[in-house]
Symmetry: C2
Subunit: 200 residues, 2 copies
């Protein structure tokens, strides 16, 4: 996976882009004054939500601790490999839960069951209306279907899957960030929350 | 704070925008094939990192539990009030720690001490190179300087500050999301990590 690299970056306008666009927002501030804000939006949204990310729980077994799944892939906007939760855009007509089941299977090969779906949350609300739901899924690794799983990525996706003990998530990310990977901010926030609560 | 509202949204190109821009990235995928990706970037970055967000720890006292600080403000890209950690862009020549001390004071009025600074993390790596550091800060509310604090927001900022018990952060956000506020994804991930570890 080390062959990926950036070749060239050039400016682009809304009429050249397919997936993203810039907007100028005129708004009234709380004092009644008219102001301007600039933002970016994804043009791919089908309903009210762009995407899902998945916190997977693989229960502890006799020989394995409780683990979660991370995906590693080359992300052109970052220009590096990243660690993120498995994630993807919601297709037309899909619920967030359905998208999560599909994406987990595509990206990791595992069949999971949805435990919980968050409300819509915003990835960087000062910059963009890009939004998502965090879906919590259980994977039963004793099931036949979850033995020797094989991912079925979309064309053009090159994804490596990592099984990380939940109680080591933060330290794993910090260590990898020092060497090979950039880390998704939502994932690091999750991991820091885990670590903080575990220490208290 | 309820008077804020969106008046108009129009498309915009890179030569009209001041704060954001679109890019077309040509990259080589891991198989060696040339591909295109579209992204958005902040034009305001001064060094290698755009922004900081602050997880504040106000220690428990005789009559108060351990609390953290959230800010509520109207976010034009979302068109609603949001809850986020106190946050802001890093100024020219500032370290992340310096930006965090300054932003906490401006947005909440509190003087804090930096406990920990995360590595650079990426808010939505499929969409943008926008990045940040999570800064953990302690606020000693027994200090004279932290009595009857007054925020000193920038011109055009209208921010309400909330003190939330750390062990109630997730439930607070879920409840507010049902009624008045949108929630930042990084904050909700942090809160879910806290909640998940506390249950285990």
């Amino acid at each position: 996976m080390s062959g990926a690299k950036i070749l060239n970056i050039t400016g682009m306008s809304n009429n050249e882009s397919k997936w993203v666009a810039l907007d100028k927002i005129e708004y009234q501030d709380p004092s009644g004054k008219k102001r301007v804000w600039e933002m970016c939006h994804r043009t791919s949204r089908k309903g009210d939500c762009d995407a899902v990310a998945i916190f997977t729980i693989l229960s502890a077994t006799e020989d394995k601790p409780e683990e979660t799944l991370l995906v590693s892939q080359f992300r052109p906007p970052v220009g590096k490999l990243t660690f993120e939760f498995p994630a993807g855009l919601i297709d037309e007509g899909e619920t967030a839960a359905q998208a999560a089941v599909r994406e987990l299977k595509e990206e990791t090969g595992y069949c999971g069951v949805v435990r919980e779906v968050s409300p819509i949350i915003f990835s960087d609300p000062g910059l963009t209306n890009a939004n998502m739901k965090l879906v919590v899924m259980d994977v039963d690794r004793s099931l036949e279907i979850n033995q020797n799983v094989v991912a079925v990525p979309d064309e053009g996706e090159f994804i490596d899957v990592f099984h990380i003990p939940v109680n080591n998530l933060y330290d794993f990310l910090i260590e990898k960030e020092k060497t090979t990977h950039a880390v998704d901010a939502r994932l690091l926030h999750f991991a820091y929350g885990l670590k903080f609560a575990s220490k208290v």
